[in-house]
């Protein structure tokens, strides 16, 4: 069983992800913005972070760069989950060190496969 941190500023999106992932048996945590994500990443040490991009304060790209630059958190897998779905956004996201990128809307099976590839 792995620990997954879901980061999204939308309560609906967080609730949906928690609901969807509850069947996988993984331990699911949530964070509402970039600052909380950074805090929980260092204190909870999740195996994987599902990270929204557009958020108040530190955005997902910023959080991704910061986590991948820290020796203690760079091993955490990061999947950017965002409705910014242009190819340039995808390439930029991967350039920030993200391990994968999923554009909203996504298929639930696609989410599960991408998570499985990362864990």
């Amino acid at each position: 069983m792995s620990k997954i941190l879901v980061v999204d500023d939308s309560p609906t999106a967080r609730a949906f992800m928690v609901d969807t992932l509850s069947s996988t048996g993984h331990h699911i945590l949530t964070a509402v913005d970039g600052e909380e994500a950074l805090h929980k990443a260092s204190t909870e040490r999740p195996d994987l972070i599902l990270l929204d991009v557009v958020m108040p304060g530190k955005n997902g790209f910023h959080v991704c760069r910061q986590l991948k630059a820290e020796a203690t958190t760079k091993g955490i897998k990061i999947i950017l989950v965002t409705s910014k779905n242009q190819q340039s956004d995808r390439a930029w996201g991967l350039k920030q060190g993200a391990d994968a990128y999923i554009a909203k809307p996504f298929d639930t099976a696609e989410l599960f496969v991408t998570i499985a590839q990362c864990l």
Binding site: S10, F16, N59, A69, Y101, K104, P105, A109
Partner: protein, 358 residues
């Protein structure tokens, strides 16, 4: 249409959206009354973006589409590309009211509220002066997308859901990153040389020279420069730059690059070359130094491409360089018979002049 969408989830989503609507409506009211409300409008864009993202996650693709029209209009206003006029306010208020109606109709399970989608598509297309003849096709395309979403599937239709082709699966292969792609291209080029093509000047015998890395080649005032690709995050056309008062002439202003506010430095002017050359071929390099600590964007005359260099032999620059460029060069390199000055980006970005505006 909500047969398969959890009512509790839908109720939660509606509550969340209703929490954002007063703020969005108030922001729209400022559009043609106060042009200085940039931050208020940016917050409205963020709220609309949240609604769009949550709608997409729930599989409400028609709602997602309608919201994207609102986001597009607001973004154009924030970036100065859209008109701040009464027509814009009227369209946005209408769209927000329709969005609210659409949510209400979902809650009462009122079938597919197709009429609302049609109303919004028509209003948006009239606002954008798009031909009415294509309205029906636009509505149909949106509703077709809705049919493919999770919430429209009948109970027991899980098989079709799991058999849906994984849209991004091929693209999301772990090794399919930009770096991997570039490495593949480099290897393919090397294979051509290995098969007998003339070797590039700095490729050692046997075709396995140490690679010094890839460099972005660019020009300034007619001279060629190179900077390590490790420092370059993005190359793009020069986007909308917001001027900033009381800064040197070489700071063009600031720019929003994917949520990061960066200074825009006109390198030509900074180096004391001739007058800035502004043209279609100008490019903006988003660059970084000291890990990710320092980020800024540089305007250069032209980007020639990204070139892999092998066994780089840097020599002190003995040729005259324009302005004070020599202070920021780590040496020169001969590439295909042309002298290329290698730009020391760390030294440039860490210089006191640049640091104060970084």
């Amino acid at each position: 249409m909500t047969k398969n969408l959890d009512k509790k989830m839908l109720n939660g989503f509606t509550r969340e959206v209703h929490g954002y609507l007063p703020q969005i409506r108030a922001s729209i009211d400022t559009i043609h009354t106060d042009a200085s409300q940039g931050e208020v409008l940016e917050e409205a864009v963020r709220c609309v973006h949240i609604i769009k993202g949550a709608a997409a996650i729930l599989g409400l693709s028609a709602l997602c589409h309608m919201t994207s029209y609102i986001e597009e209009t607001l973004t154009e206003i924030v970036t100065g590309q859209g008109q701040r006029d009464a027509a814009c306010g009227v369209w946005l208020h209408y769209a927000i009211d329709k969005l609210d109606q659409y949510l209400e109709s979902l809650l009462v399970d009122d079938g597919c509220p197709q009429a609302i989608v049609t109303d919004v598509v028509q209003a948006f297309r009239r606002f954008k002066s798009l031909p009415a003849a294509d309205d029906a096709a636009a509505v149909e395309a949106i509703l077709a997308g809705e049919g493919a979403t999770r919430c429209e599937q009948e109970p027991g239709d899980e098989a079709s859901e799991t058999s849906t082709p994984l849209r991004h699966n091929a693209e999301m292969a772990p090794d399919d990153t930009l770096e991997a792609l570039i490495t593949t291209i480099d290897d393919a080029v090397r294979q051509v040389y290995d098969q007998g093509a003339p070797s590039p000047p700095h490729l050692e015998a046997g075709g396995r020279a140490d690679r010094a890395g890839r460099y972005v080649f660019f020009t300034l005032a007619g001279r060629r420069y190179a900077v390590s690709v490790l420092h370059v995050l993005e190359i793009s056309r020069v986007s909308l730059v917001t001027p900033v008062p009381n800064v040197p002439s070489w700071v063009r202003g600031i720019v929003n690059v994917r949520g990061e506010i960066l200074s825009v430095i006109d390198v030509r002017t900074f180096l004391g070359c001739e007058e800035t050359h502004q043209g279609e071929e100008n490019r903006m390099l988003v660059v970084k130094a000291r890990g990710d600590e320092i980020m800024t964007s540089l305007v250069v005359d032209q980007v020639m491409g990204i070139v892999p260099l092998y066994t780089i032999h840097l020599e002190p620059s003995t040729t005259p360089t324009p302005g004070n460029a020599a202070s920021y060069l780590s040496g020169v390199y001969e590439h295909e018979g042309q002298v290329v000055a290698v730009f020391d980006l760390e030294r440039f970005l860490l210089s006191p002049e640049v640091r104060q505006f970084e």
